[in-house]
């Protein structure tokens, strides 16, 4: 199957099977195409399966129904072409910042001098100069996420999967990290799939926002959200505010449905 899109999600459904209790349909016939160097946000209420979709693309969960293609090849396992950043950072706590960033480079078999240099470059890119020898337990939440982003960017995946990466941070840090991410993304452009339940974040960061419905997760609609990201006052622009309102209405409906379905 030839396609221009770098990531093709074709009619994917997924059953969530908890260790105890009944299986639930988490994703229902999802189709989505993401193009090279496009920034797509998956937006939806909690429990809509947006992270599950991300894990399927990452190859962490098996695709049982439908197919996911990355660069024309079926996803079967995790691989260094798809880097991932998790909400709770997932840094190796027994490695320093440098050790964490070096890890992916070691696994790629990069020569020692080269990888030391590259690790340093990315530690500096995310603004962690001076914290190379700190352990994750010694860093703040924002710094941990910077380290995690550096670790993932350093081994240069073509695709960046981000699972609510700023969801565990306080509001001020989150705002800062969002513009940081855009700055970094402009320097090392990649295809990004960004999971979030924050409407403003989605509109601000993404080129397109896929709004997902409450369980079972479906893609309700895809909205274009291309704005001039370099404009420091973009948050106040009328078009931006209107777009956020429009998406809010779409998400609110689903959030209410999701609440109602909870016992």
């Amino acid at each position: 199957m030839a396609s221009q899109a770098q990531i093709v999600v074709d009619n994917v459904s997924h059953m969530y099977r908890p260790p105890r209790g009944r299986a639930v349909l988490a994703l229902d016939q999802i189709s989505l195409e993401v193009h090279t160097r496009e920034f797509v946000a998956l937006l939806g209420p909690s429990g809509c399966g947006k992270s599950t979709l991300l894990y399927l693309i990452g190859g962490f969960l098996p695709v049982e129904t439908g197919a996911i293609l990355v660069d024309g090849k079926k996803v079967a396992a995790p691989g260094p072409d798809r880097g991932i950043v998790f909400q709770h950072f997932a840094l190796f706590p027994w490695k320093t910042v440098r050790g964490n960033v070096l890890y992916g480079l070691e696994r790629q078999g990069m020569a020692k001098i080269e990888r030391e240099k590259r690790a340093q470059e990315f530690i500096e890119l995310v603004g962690l100069h001076g914290f190379e020898d700190s352990y994750p337990s010694q860093l703040s939440g924002g710094m941990k996420q910077r380290a995690a982003i550096a670790r993932t960017l350093a081994f240069d995946p073509e695709i960046l999967l981000m699972d609510e990466p700023f969801g565990a941070l306080d509001a001020q840090t989150r705002g800062l990290m969002q513009s940081e991410l855009l700055r970094i993304w402009q320097r090392t452009p990649k295809t990004v799939i960004f999971v979030t339940h924050d409407v403003q974040e989605a509109v601000y960061l993404a080129d397109r926002v896929a709004v997902m419905s409450a369980r079972p997760g479906r893609i309700k609609t895809i909205v274009d959200t291309k704005f001039d990201k370099t404009d420091p006052h973009i948050h106040k622009a009328k078009a931006f505010v209107d777009k956020v309102d429009e998406l809010w209405d779409l998400v609110k409906e689903e959030a209410i449905k999701a609440q109602g379905k909870r016992p």
Binding site: P80, G83, Y103, R107, Y135
Partner: protein, 253 residues
């Protein structure tokens, strides 16, 4: 705080021991208790110095040390590998879990005669006993530690190109380390118990043998000296172990 002040503070914590030593000496010297039951501490110290001089303590100590260290190292290696393999491969767990459950609560001292029948009166039976007794706590610690390894860390390593085996070594093993090191501390204490009790029952050398021999011959000063030596070595081993474990786990703040 300077490290010297720290040492002073640490030492101060043990002043109750000094009080007990004084009380011991006093009740014994005043013959408030029979001196065969409790010889004065100063006599015990004198006997200890004699035994250091004539080499009894050293030669028996070396025998015990060899058995203890070999048994402990073997049980840590086998136990840790077993625990991690059980945590990671379901089939192995299904096969071995019932064996571990049944064997774990068995009082291992009951196996002293069995190990002697298998391996005789020498070092082999003592080492085997320690392995049998100390391995399972390590297995259980490694198992629980490996089981608790975080999904996202495993996924991160895999997405950075780590093979499954590589990931096991890079993520599961260090993640299991806190629980594993706790279990090894238990194993360390158990190894002293098993070593001395097995030597006490069947051996021709070692601390346990020496305690039994001296006791049977009514040489109580010397017997107490060996008992105190073993007690002190057990304490020292535990302290040294804690320092090493703290170093290894320095990443946890």
């Amino acid at each position: 705080m300077t490290s010297l002040a720290n040492i002073g503070k640490e030492a101060f914590r043990y002043t109750p021991l000094l009080l007990i030593a004084l009380a011991w000496e006093t009740v014994s010297r005043l013959e408030l208790v029979s001196t065969t039951a409790l010889p004065p501490l100063s006599d015990v110290v004198a006997a200890w110095i004699d035994m250091i001089k004539n080499g009894d303590l050293i030669s028996n100590g070396i025998a015990s040390f060899y058995r203890g260290v070999s048994g402990l190292v073997l049980s840590i290696v086998i136990g840790a590998v077993l625990g991690i393999v059980m945590a990671w491969w379901k089939t192995v767990n299904i096969l071995l879990a019932p064996l571990v459950e049944i064997f774990y609560p068995l009082p291992k001292s009951a196996l002293i005669p069995v190990t002697v029948i298998w391996l005789g009166f020498g070092d082999g039976s003592k080492i085997l006993l320690i392995v049998l007794g100390c391995m399972l706590p390590v297995t259980i610690g490694a198992f629980n530690g490996a089981r608790s390894s975080e999904q996202v860390l495993v996924w991160s390593a895999r997405s950075m190109g780590a093979s499954k085996l590589r990931m096991l070594w890079d993520v599961v093993v260090p993640g299991a380390m806190p629980e594993l090191l706790n279990a090894v501390r238990t194993a360390l204490a158990l190894s002293f118990i098993l070593l001395v009790s097995s030597e006490l029952i069947v051996a021709q050398k070692g601390f346990g043998y020496l305690i039994g021999y001296l006791g049977a011959n009514g040489n109580y000063d010397a017997m107490y000296a060996v008992v105190l030596t073993v007690a002190f070595l057990g304490f020292a081993a535990d302290r040294i172990y804690l320092v090493i474990a703290k170093r290894v786990l320095a990443w946890r703040e």
